[in-house]
């Protein structure tokens, strides 16, 4: 029997589910080239020159950027570029810290016995089994009460007052990302041969050299996939950021959400198209790296 044989039912269902996954994305991208300013109906691609007059002239955008008009507008929108900067700053810092801290925790939990071990392991499961909003409002309450208290006690005024901002978002992101990094690295450590390390020690390497030359290279794939997971979680995060951001620390998801509640503009579609393109290229690169590793 051919092990790869599949029933027509499975194939049809698969194709339908893939269509369900991609239909909204295709529509989103198509509309980012829409000539209609209100983005209601797709009125065709944006003409390049101002002298191209269409029937419904009042509603049509004409632009020197041609079909990429909304992308040109997007790059001029400082709110968007600032939000993009914030998003990346938060993601890079939080990923770096949570990867280091999370890997340390995975090593501790997998290799060492210490007091509070089961407590630590349990606390790492909490962010996974409670809804994000519970953690979000908890952190918001903590910061607002703490900052209120400190501002009063230290008599801080004006710009010196402690408020929500990039710092609070980064710290909160680190907190919710650590458990994911730790669990991924722990899974990697479980199938780890201790014999290599023991051999290195027998040959006279000290603990640090052993870690540098043996342990770290062996757990590196786990650490990298943990970091990648953390990075995507941070980029994608809405709820925790929503409750911990302040003026000047808006991220892209928060910015888009704010727009959606008020107006719909093809700029949001252009932004989505840029985002999807980046994701697509990242995924492609990842697959290319994986294929090379397998060879």
């Amino acid at each position: 029997m051919n092990p790869f044989r599949r029933s027509p039912f499975v194939i049809t269902a698969t194709m339908l589910v893939y269509a369900f996954l991609y239909l909204p994305i295709v529509v989103l991208v198509l509309y980012s080239f829409n000539a209609s300013r209100t983005n209601v109906v797709f009125t065709g691609f944006i003409p390049k020159f101002a002298d191209t007059v269409l029937a419904d002239g009042s509603n049509i955008v004409q632009s020197p950027c041609g079909p990429f008009h909304w992308f040109c507008e997007l790059s001029k929108n400082t709110d968007v570029t600032n939000a993009a900067k914030n998003t990346l700053t938060i993601a890079f810092i939080a990923t770096f810290v949570s990867t280091v801290v999370g890997t340390m925790a995975a090593l501790a939990l997998q290799r060492y016995n210490f007091k509070l071990k089961s407590f630590s392991q349990l606390s790492l499961y909490i962010p996974i089994v409670i809804p994000e909003i519970v953690m979000g409002i908890g952190i918001l309450t903590l910061f607002s009460q703490l900052f209120g208290l400190l501002n009063n006690v230290l008599n801080l005024n004006g710009d010196a007052r402690l408020t929500l901002g990039l710092g609070t978002v980064i710290v909160s992101h680190i907190a919710f990302m650590i458990p994911f990094v730790t669990l991924v690295v722990q899974a990697r450590l479980q199938g780890f041969e201790k014999a290599y390390e023991e051999a290195a020690m027998d040959l006279g390497a000290n603990e640090w050299i052993t870690f540098q030359r043996i342990t770290f290279p062996m757990i590196l794939p786990g650490v990298l996939s943990g970091a990648l997971l953390a990075f995507t979680l941070s980029l994608d995060d809405f709820v925790i950021t929503f409750f911990t951001n302040g003026p000047g620390s808006t991220t892209l998801p928060i910015y888009v959400y704010g727009l959606l509640r008020r107006i719909i503009t093809p700029q949001v579609n252009a932004l989505s198209t840029v985002w999807i393109t980046i994701v697509f290229l990242a995924v492609l690169m990842l697959q290319w790296i994986q294929n090379r590793e397998q060879k």
């Binding site: 039912f9 060492y112 519970v134 309450t141």
Partner: protein, 307 residues
């Protein structure tokens, strides 16, 4: 020297775990305890917290109120219980639908030629990594009265010369359900795929040799062995659905209010953090109870790590 290291093992472990503990205690456990304390407090006129020990907020969540329109002392309005129930039902419906959609796809990928599996998986990753908020927006574009679905239906109606009035799809419970299913589908596909991929081909061959037809093989081999993936996926889908407020906010408008929206509004518009804290604790307890009984029945899959 080795002896000294061995003696220090416990200290080394503590040192390695310390930063994690600082974050977990400082930004998880203390905030949760603070939420508990605040939930017993009362709202001050300017929207701040007055610390006290009253069960007022919990009584209010049950539907009893002392702030009645008709002058009565205590009145009953099960509004909040209805919101809780609506969220639970939506969580349940979303999870079931997502399992039904995810299973054939995961099965297809797991049984595909190993060379092509990665490509199929990456096709699942692209929508997953496309931002959560952007994905809700995409459904807004599809479901609006002037949206793509209505345009396409209109074309067909025009072709067949049938009078057509655009359907009202946005701002309905159905729109929220579709949005939730779309948002969380990849979180079910990946763990189910992981557990299906582990099934040894010889088991299928053995089932065929012993005369089992495909339905019997599915019921006796495939489904039982993939349960860990389904359990992990359910946890990854059900819990976030219960707490999400963007999908209902954007696709449900003011029509579909879930626990998440209720909590969010207490911290923004309505400004009663004490009531919001109580609601959020109840939400946490609800999800923990459901997860506990569910995992006790079906076990806790390690597949949860992959997604």
């Amino acid at each position: 020297m080795l002896k000294r290291l061995r003696e220090n093992k416990s200290a080394q472990g503590t040192l390695l775990i310390l930063p994690t503990l600082v974050f977990m205690v400082g930004l998880l456990i203390i905030p949760l305890l603070l939420t508990l304390v605040v939930s017993f407090g009362q709202r001050s006129p300017d929207g701040n917290v007055i610390y006290s020990f009253s069960f007022n907020n919990y009584v209010r969540l049950l539907g009893y109120s002392t702030d009645c329109a008709n002058g009565a002392k205590v009145c009953f309005d099960p509004l909040y219980a209805q919101i809780m129930w609506r969220s639970l039902a939506l969580g349940f419906n979303t999870t079931v639908l997502v399992i039904v959609l995810a299973y054939p796809l995961a099965y297809f990928i797991a049984r595909a030629h190993p060379k092509r599996r990665n490509t199929y998986l990456f096709l699942v990753l692209i929508p997953l990594w496309t931002n959560f908020v952007i994905r809700v927006y995409a459904w807004m574009m599809l479901l609006r009265q002037e949206g793509v679905i209505n345009i396409v239906l209109g074309w067909f109606a025009n072709l067949l010369h049938i009078p057509f009035t655009p359907l009202n799809m946005l701002y309905t419970p159905g729109a929220v359900l579709v949005g939730m299913v779309y948002e969380f589908l990849p979180f079910m596909i990946l763990p189910i795929y992981t557990s299906l991929e582990k099934i040894d081909n010889s088991l299928y061959e053995a089932a065929a040799d012993l005369g089992a037809n495909s339905l019997r093989t599915l019921m006796r081999v495939t489904l039982p062995l993939s349960m860990p993936g389904v359990v992990a996926g359910t946890i990854l889908v059900f819990i976030p659905v219960m707490g999400t407020f963007i999908v209902s906010d954007i696709l449900g408008g003011r029509q579909v209010i879930l626990v998440g929206n209720l909590i969010q509004r207490q911290f923004l518009d309505a400004r009663d953090p004490t009531f919001g804290s109580a609601a959020s604790l109840i939400l946490m307890i609800l999800t923990l109870i459901v997860t506990y009984f569910y995992t006790r029945k079906f076990g806790f899959g390690e597949e949860i790590v992959v997604a």
